[in-house]
């Protein structure tokens, strides 16, 4: 009897002690998931990963000639690089704008990304959805015979992604590209101003700083003669200030409208090129 009374007293004593300390609860357990992907791009394919408000991302993208040139071209490096220099800025956490310039055709492009859904940790919203628009214009001298309107190209994309776990994210993009002018290089070429495609992307996180990613952009429906589906395999390294992405990619471009319509090498042939992106984010606010 005494033992049970002592136990009772002890329980009350402990309860009064414990009740003095609040139970620790997360403030927003179903908050938005962070870092579905490491950057705004895999190699060329855009991702649902947007810049935070006030963040400025500077990005330099390079790729070289295809590796089948062998040692004579130092596996494509001697063939010269295609370089895209781009800047993106987070107007808000859900609205980003950007500008880029690609050395091929001196294409200058303007982009806008708007997030309409952000996946939450407890799956109240199971996926993130971002709408993307990009408009490019050829500015090289050779294109001056064309009107301003004729030199424009466009991309519209709906990106749907889910972070399945801390270590794996997957994205599907529904894309449409449009070129106001397409040029025949062969007499029997089938050309299309508008081309539809999908974009698949995945990220496997190795640790907080490293991951392996891929992208694959199959064309759906009408396909321009002699073009192939673009693919890339990417190793990503975050050093804190920079994100480096080193990859093998089949496409020569870094804008999706061009990757869908200008890729002439097949990754699985195998025929691809080496390339790398360097991303640096600056906080402007």
């Amino acid at each position: 009897m005494r033992k049970s009374i002592a136990t009772l007293l002890f329980s009350f004593f402990m309860t009064s002690l414990v009740s003095a300390q609040l139970e620790r609860k997360r403030a927003n357990p179903d908050g938005p998931v962070a870092e579905t992907f490491l950057t705004k791009n895999i190699a060329g394919l855009g991702t649902v990963q947007l810049l935070g408000k006030g963040d400025l991302n500077s990005m330099i993208q390079h790729n070289f000639g295809d590796v089948r040139g062998g040692i004579e071209t130092f596996f494509g490096v001697d063939e010269g690089a295609n370089v895209r220099i781009a800047f993106g800025y987070g107007l808000t956490d859900d609205l980003n704008i950007g500008i880029g310039r690609t050395s091929r055709e001196d294409n200058i492009d303007f982009s806008i990304d708007y997030r309409i859904l952000h996946q939450t940790k407890l799956d109240r919203i199971p996926v993130s959805v971002v709408l993307k628009g990009n408009t490019g214009i050829r500015t090289q001298k050779e294109s001056f015979g064309l009107t301003f309107q004729e030199r424009l190209n466009y991309l519209g994309s709906v990106m749907i992604a889910r972070k399945f776990s801390d270590n794996f994210s997957f994205q599907v993009s529904l894309m449409v590209s449009h070129f106001n002018t397409v040029v025949k290089t062969k007499q029997d070429s089938e050309l299309y101003n508008t081309v539809y495609g999908l974009g698949f992307a995945g990220r496997f996180k190795i640790n907080e700083r490293k991951s392996i990613s891929f992208e694959y952009l199959p064309v759906i429906g009408d396909k321009i003669t002699d073009t192939k589906n673009h693919a890339a395999l990417v190793y990503e390294l975050e050093t804190g200030g920079h994100v480096f992405q080193m990859f093998f990619m089949s496409g020569r471009w870094f804008t999706e409208q061009h990757l869908l319509t200008r890729t002439e090498t097949d990754f699985l042939e195998p025929n691809f090129r080496f390339g790398f992106n360097v991303n640096r984010v600056f906080g402007l606010l």
């Binding site: 009064s16 300390q21 620790r24 403030a27 927003n28 006030g54 804190g240 906080g283």
Partner: protein
């Protein structure tokens, strides 16, 4: 003997029911200030949770570190990485009021609390100076102290873009509402 025990248990039970001198908030404000040449910034959260029991003289505060907002996405990400918020999501303080406080007065009164502050998985005994003021709608608390990152094994993120001071000034400001007994 049984009567004494019964009375004791009854008293304990009744005392555990009554919390007339307890105050709580889940919307307190916490701010830290980082000052380095050419780059000063502050981080804010309005999710500070606090509980003060004037009978027991206990003071309990915690904050979900992921709610801290420095106004810049990249800096927030770096800060969370540095604090390892996935592993250690809270900064918390639990201690006792060691100075006198007159709850009948509505004046701002300087107080001292002593207890354990825990962040980044490291606990330290600290003493914090602050003020308490009894208002019509609750108990207003302010406090501030200097947190040395190295004391809590928080490595200043040298490789990151954002430079931070090794010592950060912390301030809290909260209005705690009476807890119904």
């Amino acid at each position: 003997m049984k009567k004494i025990i019964f009375t004791t248990v009854l008293c304990l039970f009744i005392s555990s029911l009554g919390h007339s001198q307890s105050f709580k908030t889940e919307e307190g404000k916490a701010t830290f200030y980082s000052k380095v040449p050419l780059h000063s910034f502050e981080g804010n959260s309005e999710n500070l949770v606090g509980f003060i029991d004037l009978d027991e003289k206990t003071v309990d505060f915690y904050i979900d570190l992921e709610t801290l907002d420095t106004g810049n996405g990249k800096r927030d990400k770096d800060m969370k990485l540095t604090l390892e918020t996935k592993k250690y999501p809270f900064a918390e303080f639990f201690g006792k009021l060691v100075s006198d406080f007159d709850p009948e007065s509505s004046a701002i009164q300087d107080v001292t609390v002593r207890g354990t502050f825990k962040i980044h998985g490291v606990e330290k005994e600290i003493e914090v100076e602050g003020t308490l003021q009894m208002k019509d709608n609750g108990l207003h608390v302010t406090a501030g102290w200097i947190l040395s990152l190295l004391d809590y094994k928080i490595e200043p993120p040298q490789i990151l873009f954002i430079k931070v001071d090794k010592e950060q000034e912390i301030k809290i400001d909260a209005l705690l509402k009476p807890v119904d007994g």
